[in-house]
């Protein structure tokens, strides 16, 4: 399905059509250029970053003389060589580029070596003589909690009186769950290529979701103004949050080498170094204490969330906040207290990952739903439905925002029918009753995901649009392309505004030199923010063209209509290009910036109240699984998804986000296990040991639909909804379905002890544990 052909009635690449990804021809031909494919300039140095082998130690001595004298070495850099500030953190100033007196995780950067080849640089780095004096290391959430080791202060959200509700409700249960982290496993690893400019300038090609922050960090490390640093990229080979704050380190080191040698320098981490050195999704321990009535309606709940933040704050504050914001998912909690601990451990500093804490918060409440269902003997779907937010009442979140756009009940109803949930559940119960070794399970779980950066100031974006004399358009904005299709969506918006075919719109690299002070392409906000900013820029130019037409052709405004690739002015029609050229000759400016800030939002972390989200994105999924009770092996056999993309800007792109997000979430909750040894070293640091879903893990029967009633009640770009993150959480249905399958061995009376990821090992342990509990 490519763009519909242009006709007199339609442009190619209008909004709401399934335009192909702008780079797809280049992707399949191998001609799409990623940072490591940019032809290297003569004299380019390759940089190896030497890493700590201890989780927590004092750097007693660091002798780099043998490194400096090794063959080929052009420069060796450590903390003492940083002219500016030795920090590459996004916010808190606690992520040293090079360790100074102490190392705080295995994999932390200590020094860097530049040489003509990476082999020489790596070999030289191995000659360093490092003496460590080990210090006590906290590796897990539990150790950090016990030691009261935190990167940021605890946070609380409170609605009503949970303690009171827990005392008085007829039913009460508590539990504890571990939810594992996740490596991004973007196929393209971290990479930065820095090239010297005039004066102290440096131009950095960085694979990053956040060019402005990379720019700022590089400038800070070099001790130069931001204007001396330009950061540019055309595309990333995947990001998923892992290229939001993390790329600053690689870029800063590449720039430091440029500064010290005057030569271009590249830092490209190989897969193992990347996985050891860079942050991941936070693993959480979540405890709950819940009270509910005999129908399973929650009367009150307390959550204790503890996240492993690692050795520094990074983005953990906002991530842990978002976990709290999503501990309700679609459900009205009426009396809720949510406490969040941001644990400091001597492991890599965890970071943004698609969903940004939301998925962990949501897993916990969905587990509570499963628990209540097993305790009350009701169908888990009925328990879920009974707890959904209302539309007129029962609609206040634990952070005191009123849910105004709740479509969950309607959407769930539709999916329940289209997936044939009830009948399939009955069949599964029969199958399981027959005493098979294999057990089946099914679950429907919904998603409600808040859209906006919860730091209100980040919700802004800029764009730059030029129209050339021939009517072709140069489009630039602050968003970055990591595969999600942002560029084609924004190009569709601009094509739509000008009513020109999308091929007339040139999509260009993101660069801090064109649009400054941008926010990260994150929080699913890319097309909401940049689409609006680009629309504003296009409208500014369009308005000038209209004004010109009014003046030059002497017609009233109403008689100027932009038709596909042409403009009707009064009774005459001229091509868009002719009008543009005419305007140029009349000395009309054909370049404009556009700016957008999200309205209505505010959030006060001190009181735990506000409206942090402009709107919510919704979806629901039914997953069916089968589990081998002898081995714990399992498969997802069928998945039905109904997802609300508003009025989708590009259905094909959005379907891709839904499917990819779901599979990534499924991986997080099933096969993707991060495993550290007792010495604090991550042992799953390559695809041989870290298992993301492969082709055959995709359910054979996979039915995905975009909700055709979807329409954003808020005035977003063409009433679409953000799509990047929400679908990941649809995969929680897999974990609940696995829980359902395991629960069968206990006669559906007890909640299996099942942490995430539900590997075969954890499933088998849950099965054995449940059998033992059921027998006793």
């Amino acid at each position: 399905m490519t763009s519909a052909p242009a006709t007199n009635e339609n442009i190619r690449g209008a909004v709401h059509t399934s335009s192909i990804h702008d780079s797809s021809h280049k992707h399949v031909a191998g001609t799409a250029v990623y940072i490591d494919d940019i032809p290297e300039l003569p004299g380019t140095l390759q940089v190896y970053i030497a890493m700590s082998t201890r989780p927590h130690a004092r750097l007693a001595s660091l002798d780099l003389a043998p490194v400096r004298s090794a063959p080929g070495v052009a420069c060796v850099l450590s903390a003492a060589d940083v002219p500016g500030i030795n920090d590459a953190s996004p916010v808190m100033g606690d992520d040293p580029v090079f360790a100074e007196t102490e190392v705080c995780y295995v994999g932390q950067s200590i020094f860097a070596v530049a040489a003509p080849s990476i082999d020489e640089a790596r070999a030289a780095a191995g000659l360093a003589v490092i003496e460590y004096e080990d210090l006590e290391a906290y590796l897990t959430v539990d150790e950090a909690l016990a030691a009261k080791s935190f990167v940021l202060p605890q946070m609380k959200m409170k609605l009503g009186d949970a303690a009171q509700a827990l005392e008085t409700a007829p039913n009460r249960h508590s539990g504890r769950m571990r939810i594992g982290g996740q490596d991004h496993f973007y196929l393209e690893g971290q990479v930065a290529y820095a090239v010297p400019g005039e004066d102290a300038d440096v131009h950095v090609y960085s694979s990053t979701q956040h060019p402005s922050e990379v720019q700022h960090n590089v400038a800070k490390v070099l001790g130069v103004p931001d204007h001396a640093v330009t950061v540019e990229l055309r595309r990333m080979g995947g990001g998923f949050g892992g290229k939001e704050s993390q790329p600053a380190l690689m870029a800063a080191i590449a720039a430091l080498v440029v500064r010290n040698t005057g030569r271009p320098a590249k830092v490209r981490l190989d897969r193992d170094d990347d996985m050891e050195m860079t942050g991941k999704r936070h693993d959480f321990v979540i405890e709950h204490d819940v009270a509910y009535d005999d129908d399973g309606v929650i009367q009150g709940i307390e959550f204790m969330q503890a996240a492993r933040c690692g050795m520094s704050a990074d983005l953990s504050g906002a991530i842990c906040d978002r976990a709290m914001f999503h501990s309700d998912n679609c459900y009205y909690l009426q009396n809720a207290t949510i406490t969040s601990h941001r644990c400091k451990t001597h492991t890599v500093s965890n970071t943004a990952f698609r969903g940004f804490g939301g998925p962990q918060g949501m897993v916990a409440i969905e587990r509570v739903m499963d628990e209540i269902a097993l305790q009350t003997g009701r169908d888990p779907l009925d328990v879920r439905k009974a707890n959904l937010y209302g539309t007129g009442d029962r609609n206040v979140t634990p952070y005191h925002m009123t849910v105004e756009d709740n479509v969950a009940p309607e959407l769930i109803e539709e999916l329940e029918t289209s997936s044939n949930y009830r009948a399939r559940r009955a069949t599964i119960r029969e199958y399981n009753a027959a005493g098979n070794i294999l057990k089946k399970g099914i679950a429907l779980t919904p998603v409600k995901f808040g859209i906006s950066f919860t730091n209100t100031f980040l919700n802004q974006a800029g764009a730059l649009v030029h129209v050339y004399k021939d009517g072709s358009v140069h489009l630039n904005h602050g968003g970055t392309e990591m595969g999600q299709g942002l560029f084609v969506k924004v190009a569709q918006v601009v094509a739509q505004e000008f009513q020109i075919d999308i091929e007339r719109v040139k999509i260009t690299s993101t660069t801090t030199a064109k649009v400054p002070n941008t926010s990260a392409t994150a929080a699913s906000s890319g097309s909401d923010l940049n689409g609006m900013a680009a629309q504003a820029a296009a409208r500014t130019i369009k308005e000038r063209l209209i004004q010109h037409a009014i003046d030059a052709h002497n017609v009233p405004r109403e008689q100027i209509v932009f038709l596909p690739n042409r403009v009707r002015i009064g009774n005459e029609e001229m091509s868009f290009a002719d009008l543009v050229n005419e305007a140029y000759m009349a000395r009309v400016s054909l370049s404009a910036t556009g700016f957008y800030k999200t309205p209505k939002i505010h959030w006060d972390p001190m009181t735990g109240r506000g409206r942090p989200f402009y709107y919510f994105a919704y979806g629901a999924a039914v997953s069916e699984v089968i589990v081998d009770t002898l081995t714990g092996e399992n498969r997802v056999t069928r998945v039905d998804i109904l997802h609300d993309a508003g009025q989708s800007l590009n259905p094909a792109i959005d379907l891709g986000q839904i499917e990819g997000g779901f599979i990534q979430g499924m991986g997080w909750l099933t096969t993707e296990e991060l495993w550290w040894n007792d010495a604090g070293r991550l042992m799953t640091h390559a695809p041989s040991t870290y298992k993301i879903p492969a082709c055959s893990d995709r359910p054979d029967d996979f039915r995905i639909a975009i909700w055709d009633k979807g329409r954003n009640v808020e005035d977003t770009i063409y009433r679409s909804k953000a799509i990047g993150e929400p679908p990941l959480m649809l995969a929680i249905s897999v974990l609940s379905a696995l829980t359902d399958a395991v629960a069968s061995v206990g006669g559906y009376k007890l909640l299996p002890d099942l942490d995430a990821p539900a590997t075969p090992e954890r499933l088998l342990a849950a099965i054995s544990g449940l059998k033992a509990r059921a027998a006793s």
Partner: protein, 488 residues
């Protein structure tokens, strides 16, 4: 011996006389040829971003094209072969190959970084002319990881490409481009020296045997699925490499009176059909040992010779009583496969000696079952691998039980106590339970990133139960691992 690596890249002959013997094909493509369409995602043969198609002539000189991982192949192994990369697929008029066009039409790329690798896997399949069914598609793509798409559109492409018009006049597919390779059938093999490194690629088993006498400490290179990683991951300098992939008389799997003879250079792909025909579970074990790309490179003998405790071939070979033929110069000796594994890191092999072949007895009477437990079904390393060979008499009494596990000890090891508990007993629940309990005396497994000791033990025991249950009449299949894959 010749000192020049000759191969065809796309439609052009390459003759390299100054090449580092352990330079990877991927590095060569990206840095020397500036063909940057081939990507690095892992440098260990696990992600497929570096997939290329490699054509190799058979005995009749007919070219066969297979998808392989460029990241773990050394450049000299290209000698006499035809390398095709993503840049070669365009048709004469500049339009896309069906494998590419299908990926565009299905929205099969998002970030695009994995895409060239997928296209090359699809392309290799396209050249076979046979559209894959669903299970074959999963298997075809098991070695290509995509983090963005969720695979659906790519799976659809594997069908759609066969429905598009056939490509026209692709330069690299013209018969004359490989003529240059035929001219050079110099049978003496390749010999290279690069700095402190040397590289030999003998063409006969005798040549290999005498080279090894001269260089007893040489590293024997077959598919590179293990040795390649010594270079890309462990950054080891290999001084002397002897490549056996050109040894023409050690390639063909043959059925003899003694059974199936699997010689040193026979890949998993070469062995799969013949082994799977006699022992379907063994065939499936071969399928699951790695991706299509890995099976096209790695060898069955290599999986034994490297001495790993977690290789999947040894448990099956040991349970089936296979024999190893070791050769040194002109001398050969034989031993049961299990005796090769002395202890962790120690094998019963002498300097200058090599594993020449494995002889797998074909005994249709025995009941054979094998299982592999891993976090992911495809392209994963076993936490536990189990193989059961049961010889039952007419009365269902166990005459002999041979049970071997990988992942349970420092070597692939038989469960002797469990075997003894079954020996002479009717194959019934009581005996099975007794054998499961006895297994606790057979192993003290360890905990690592693949599994805990407790899980390993429990699942090892349960697999015996599964084996028993699967032998009961009327039992439904109780496996979730896909089994279609490459056809027996």
């Amino acid at each position: 011996m010749s000192g020049t690596v000759r191969f065809v890249l796309g439609s052009e002959l390459r003759e390299l006389s100054d090449v580092r013997p352990t330079q990877t094909v991927l590095e060569y493509l990206r840095t020397v040829e500036k063909r940057c369409g081939t990507k690095e995602g892992c440098a260990e043969g696990d992600c497929g971003a570096c997939t290329v198609a490699l054509g190799e002539p058979d005995e009749a000189g007919e070219m066969h094209y297979r998808a392989v991982n460029a990241c773990i192949q050394f450049v000299p192994t290209l000698h006499g072969r035809h390398l095709i990369t993503i840049e070669d697929l365009r048709q004469a008029d500049g339009s896309l190959h069906p494998a590419q066009e299908a990926m565009v039409r299905t929205h099969g790329s998002q970030c695009g970084f994995c895409t060239p690798g997928f296209v090359m896997s699809l392309y290799a399949r396209y050249r076979t002319g046979e559209p894959p069914d669903a299970a074959e598609t999963d298997d075809l793509l098991a070695g290509n990881l995509c983090r963005c798409t969720g695979y659906g559109p790519i799976i659809a492409s594997a069908q759609q490409m066969f429905e598009l018009p056939e490509p026209q006049a692709i330069a690299c597919e013209q018969p004359e481009v490989i003529e240059a390779l035929r001219e050079d059938s110099d049978a003496t093999g390749l010999e290279l020296r690069g700095g402190a490194q040397s590289y030999y690629a003998p063409q006969t088993a005798d040549g290999l045997a005498s080279l090894l006498l001269e260089h007893p400490d040489a590293t024997i290179l077959a598919g590179g699925t293990d040795v390649g990683l010594w270079v890309t991951k462990l950054h080891r300098d290999l001084e002397c490499v002897i490549y056996i992939g050109d040894v023409s008389d050690l390639k063909a799997v043959q059925q003899t009176q003694r059974g199936l003879e699997i010689p040193a250079a026979a890949t998993y792909a070469d062995a799969h059909d013949a082994v799977g025909k006699h022992y379907p579970d063994f065939g499936e074990l071969i399928r699951r040992i790695g991706s299509t790309q890995i099976r096209n490179l790695g060898t069955v003998c290599g999986n034994v010779a490297n001495g790993s405790p977690i290789g999947d071939m040894p448990p099956a070979l040991i349970a089936l009583g296979a024999t190893l033929v070791l050769r040194k110069g002109k001398e050969r000796r034989e031993m049961p496969v299990e005796e090769f594994f002395v202890e962790y890191g120690v094998q019963a092999i002498e300097p200058g000696e090599f594993v020449e072949r494995i002889i797998l007895p074909l005994d249709g009477q025995k009941l054979f079952k094998a299982y592999k437990i891993s976090k992911r079904f495809d392209q994963d390393i076993s936490a536990v691998c189990a193989a059961f060979s049961l010889d039952l008499d007419d009365g269902n009494t166990v005459r002999e039980a041979r049970i071997c596990y990988g992942g349970m000890a420092g070597v692939p090891k038989r469960a002797e106590h469990a075997e003894a508990a079954l020996q002479g007993k009717p194959l019934e629940l009581d005996a099975v339970k007794a054998a499961m309990a006895a297994m606790a005396s057979d192993f003290t497994p360890m905990t690592d990133m693949r599994a805990s000791a407790e899980y390993r033990m429990r699942v090892a025991q349960n697999l015996l139960m599964k084996c028993y249950l699967e032998t009961q009449p009327g039992t439904q299949p109780i496996r979730l691992a896909g089994s279609a894959g490459i056809k027996p």
